[in-house]
């Protein structure tokens, strides 16, 4: 195969693939999960959970939240600014399931307030 043709095909395929992956990453749905259904089997899975903020432990570079539905779950947030959450707010957390000392927790990537 001519080198120039192979280069064109590779560049086109690479670009199309990158665009498809961009589309996939933008539209990949992260499943909403009930807190009481999260188990150690979900570790490393990305999930979306909704719940009411029960407790906030705001430290220098990290904040620990406890959010609750029927059951509560601890959320670890690595901060790069001030935390504007308040207890009692309904929030949605997108994060990765993790296990610490035998207990399932979330490493939060994104928190949005649904109701104040």
């Amino acid at each position: 195969m001519q080198e120039r043709l192979l280069l064109r095909i590779a560049l086109a395929a690479g670009t199309i693939g990158i665009l498809m992956l961009f589309f996939l990453s933008e539209h990949a749905a992260i499943d909403e999960r009930a807190i009481d259904r999260l188990t150690a089997a979900d570790v490393e899975a990305d999930v979306r959970v909704k719940g009411v903020v029960q407790r906030i432990d705001d430290r220098e570079k990290v904040a620990f939240l406890s959010i609750a539905q029927l059951k509560d779950i601890d959320v670890v947030l690595f901060k790069d600014g001030n935390l504007s959450l308040k207890e009692g707010q309904l929030v949605e957390v997108i994060g990765t399931v993790d296990e610490y000392e035998g207990k399932v927790q979330l490493i939060g990537n994104e928190v949005s307030v649904l109701a104040r």
């Binding site: 192979l6 280069l7 560049l11 693939g17 990158i18 992956l21 996939l24 899975a45 990305d46």
Partner: protein
């Protein structure tokens, strides 16, 4: 069973696992380490955490010796050996596949001995230098990348490959619910792309010389081993900067070492990186790779544990040297008997099947895209190491933004 017997058995099991991970394209030590971690609650009822750590370290060290074989003979490298594919393939095409692997073994063993001897110096160096460097890591990495892109006349090509692989890396590493994202990414960029090029060029592997005809100047061996130890130690400070990037940077300062010296260098950095990761775990409590991360989960790294694991490094390094040379002799005989084009297709299909198993259909799309991007440097005539942008660009952005 006495503790010593238990540790020796763990070492041998680790060496056995390292043979499998090292020789099988796509099967990484992180996978086996995570498997051990997942069954550790059961294992720890019968054996100590140190025993599991011994198994992991001996596997990792054996792997860093043996992974040169699929990289050179099959063109199916893991990330750490990616840069050895081209000079290794060149020697393979001259019938010197055995010599190519032997060069990486010289680097691995030499740098292993030097790095273990330097552990008392490395501990304070890592503990004091890392906090000073930490705020500047992003800038230093950006400067390294800028240097690599601008260092030769193919600047536009270098930049294009770095940018495409970098964007691909960002997308893949941020893809939700994707398991083993690095596997399809690195296999495509450095493995399958090389196999596709070999297939299309109708490469025929010449009959291999069964023994060594190697004649490398001692000064080149010495320079390369020392450079591998220094570079391998430095890469421990920089997340995302692996053995491959370290080798490119080191080779800029060692211009007269040639392909032979470069292969010694890459082999050495690969092994030193693993040893220094144990030191960083002790000195700054940071795990620089998946295998050491598992050790960190299992046990507290203290001086007696570090000394025990250094002994394991030495012992498994010695065993791995003999094993690698023995396996390479067999590969040298075998490779010229098989139909190389069929072998290329077989390895590519094997990697594709593993990607489907580990990462699913999205992994397959990543593999295809990464393969296409991995073909670009070969066709543009630029160095394939710029495709390491897939790791470097996300790491730089993480530190700078």
């Amino acid at each position: 069973m006495s503790l010593l017997a238990e540790l020796l058995l763990a070492l041998l099991l680790g060496v056995g696992a390292g043979i499998i991970t090292g020789l099988t394209p796509g099967v990484h030590i992180n996978l086996v380490s995570l498997l051990l971690l997942s069954i550790s609650p059961v294992l720890l009822q019968y054996i100590s955490p140190l025993t599991i750590a011994v198994c992991i370290v001996s596997m990792a060290i054996t792997h860093t010796f043996l992974d040169a074989i699929p990289s050179i003979f099959l063109g199916a490298p893991d990330a750490d050996q990616a840069l050895n594919v081209l000079p290794g393939h060149k020697l393979l095409m001259q019938g010197k596949g055995y010599d190519a692997v032997k060069l990486t073994v010289i680097g691995s063993l030499g740098a292993l001995l030097l790095a273990v001897a330097c552990i008392p110096l490395l501990i304070p160096m890592v503990a004091y230098v890392y906090p000073v460097l930490q705020p500047f890591i992003g800038y230093i990495l950006a400067a390294v990348v800028g240097f690599m892109i601008l260092k030769d006349r193919h600047r536009a090509g270098n930049f294009l490959v770095f940018l495409m692989s970098g964007v691909l890396g960002i997308l893949v590493l941020n893809m939700p619910n994707l398991r083993q994202p690095l596997f399809p990414l690195l296999s495509g960029l450095f493995g399958v792309s090389m196999l596709v090029t070999s297939y299309l060029e109708n490469v025929r592997i010449p009959r291999q010389q069964p023994g060594s005809s190697l004649n490398v100047e001692r000064s080149i061996v010495g320079k390369s081993v020392v450079a591998a130890t220094i570079t391998g130690s430095c890469t421990a400070f920089f997340p995302g900067l692996g053995p491959a990037q370290g080798a490119v940077i080191a080779s800029q300062f060692l211009k007269d070492i040639g392909d032979h010296g470069f292969m010694i260098l890459v082999g050495g950095i690969n092994t030193v990186n693993m040893i220094v990761s144990l030191v960083t775990l002790y000195a700054i409590d940071k795990a620089r790779n998946g295998a050491v991360l598992v050790i960190a989960e299992l046990m507290e790294m203290d001086i007696p544990s570090l000394i025990a694991l250094a002994a394991v490094v030495l012992l498994s390094g010695g065993i791995a040297t003999a094993l690698t040379l023995s396996f390479t002799r067999r590969f040298s005989v075998w490779i010229s008997k098989v139909n190389y084009r069929m072998l290329v297709v077989g390895v590519a299909l094997f990697i594709t099947a593993l990607v489907l198993i580990f990462s699913g259909p999205v992994g397959l799309l990543i593999l295809l895209t990464a393969t296409a991007v991995g073909i670009v440097p070969a066709e543009l005539g630029v160095a394939r190491n710029h495709a390491m942008g897939c790791l470097l660009l996300p790491v730089i952005l993480f530190f700078l933004l």
